[in-house]
């Protein structure tokens, strides 16, 4: 019971920490809105050329764009969640302090990341999405059950996103410098989540493969749920399986890493 309160406190700290930077949040809202506008026009032209591409109509494609911009920062699709701080702590050796704490390393960072996600969803997501919904014709569900399923799916997406980034961050124990890995994660995040182009538009085998990778849990799956193009239970099962697999892998790597950790200098 007591430890549950600890992680809630850590999550609240993560939320408050990101809430402090108001100018940065406003800047992010502006940038996401501009990118949303550029993408919406491109997608409209694309769907104009080929109606029902990937099973979406134009309103669904537009909704997809604004959903992507709304959750881009929250789900850290291009990186820049708590993992950059974790990498820095591993590199400098501050991680030793974290390992000393009477708390679980993975849960601690997951709680912090959940707090961050919640803030960025509210702070950076709501305005671009509302802007898009007001200015363009969007396809939003009317029935509350779909919205509820969508929220569950977003929560699972958050866990999958953390699972990927935690695993990558732990590799710093071996590589020391995280720059290259950060770049690669960003690359995979952009391309494989459907941020650049919805995954259901990807042709042939490439499409089949990319739709089964964990990144599709971040944007494509929740979007399909919201747009009524997917069955909730199948989506939950897919996302849940990846969440469990990634967290388990993270735990395994963590135990190997902490056993061989040598704290640098000081």
């Amino acid at each position: 019971m007591g430890s549950g309160r600890l992680y809630v406190a850590v999550a609240a700290g993560g939320f408050r920490r990101y809430a402090t930077y108001r100018a940065a949040t406003a800047a992010g809202v502006f940038t996401n809105t501009v990118f949303g506008l550029i993408l919406v026009y491109t997608y409209l032209a694309l769907w104009d050329e080929k109606p029902h591409l990937g099973g979406y109509d134009q309103a669904q494609a537009v909704t997809y764009v604004w959903l992507g911009q709304a959750i881009f920062a929250a789900l850290a699709i291009g990186g820049s969640g708590v993992e950059s701080e974790l990498m820095e702590r591993i590199r400098t050796g501050d991680i030793a302090i974290d390992l000393y704490r009477p708390a679980d390393l993975q849960l601690w960072w997951m709680a912090a990341d959940l707090g961050r996600t919640l803030f960025q969803l509210l702070g950076r997501g709501v305005i671009p999405f509302a802007f898009g919904a007001l200015l363009f014709k969007v396809a939003l569900p009317h029935d509350p059950a779909t919205w509820a399923a969508f929220i569950v799916s977003l929560l699972l997406a958050t866990v999958v996103s953390f699972g990927i980034r935690y695993l990558v961050a732990l590799l710093t124990f071996w590589f020391m410098d995280g720059t290259g890995m950060t770049h690669m994660t960003m690359l995979a995040g952009f391309f494989c989540s459907g941020m650049m182009l919805p995954l259901n538009v990807f042709p042939g085998t490439l499409g089949d493969v990319v739709r089964d990778l964990p990144w599709s849990s971040l944007l494509q799956k929740p979007a399909d749920l919201l747009l009524g193009a997917a069955d909730p239970w199948g989506t939950f099962a897919f996302q849940g399986a990846w969440a469990v697999a990634l967290l388990a892998a993270g735990r395994l790597v963590q135990s190997v890493a902490t056993r061989r950790v040598v704290v640098q200098g000081g």
Partner: protein
Amino acid sequence: MEGLRAYRLIGAMWIRSTMAYRASFAMTTFANFAVTALDFVAILLMFSRIDALGGWPLPEVAFLYGLSSVAFGLADLAIGSMERLGQRVRDGTLDTLLVRPAPVLAQVAADRFALRRLGRITQGSLVLGYALTAVDIHWTPLRLLLMPVAVLSGAAIFCAVFVAGAAFQFVAQDASEVQNAFTYGGATLLQYPPTVFGRELVRGVTFLLPLAFVTWIPAAYVLGRPIPLGLPSWVAFAPPLVAGACCALAGLAWRAGLRSYRSTGS
């Protein structure tokens, strides 16, 4: 002139320091290349489903893409590090630059000069090369002359955006992300044909923030397409003038920003 010399010396220093870790340099350059290449892969995937976007076939979109990438890549290579100015203002390290006997603009521009940004230029040049062989351009001396003029003017226009963005960061230190909307957002916008976007948006990036002079207007002239917004064809030769005006305005903004600088004192 003194500024150019300082820029060259600082830039050379950063190149030497990068070359100390050749493997890391090779990796980050490749990542830089790959990130931008995926951009183009997304366009290729779109064209696997359609024949033309906004009435422009793939080779002509590739022409826009290559022109935009090379122009933006040159600006990014030259002074892209300026987007980190807010960081220096926040932690007070800008003071160090102020007491050195060299122009601050040159120092900030050359700060962390990153040769890895050649990756984007290389990728853009390859796409532009493909476009030049795939499009049947009716070459005239004027069209041939316009190509290098357009690339260099485009780079200068993007440089002006970087400088203006940095000047803005003196005022709104945390809001550095705003300029991404204009730099990366602008480069993305220019990769797609103007016919895709709303008339108001095209007007805005022609008369307010004249990004249209980087690709849309010169490209329309070279490809023998109507100039956007029904402008006369001599406008295609205006990019150097537009670039000059942009740089002058950005220079004024920079001075105003630097004058308003208050050190954090730490």
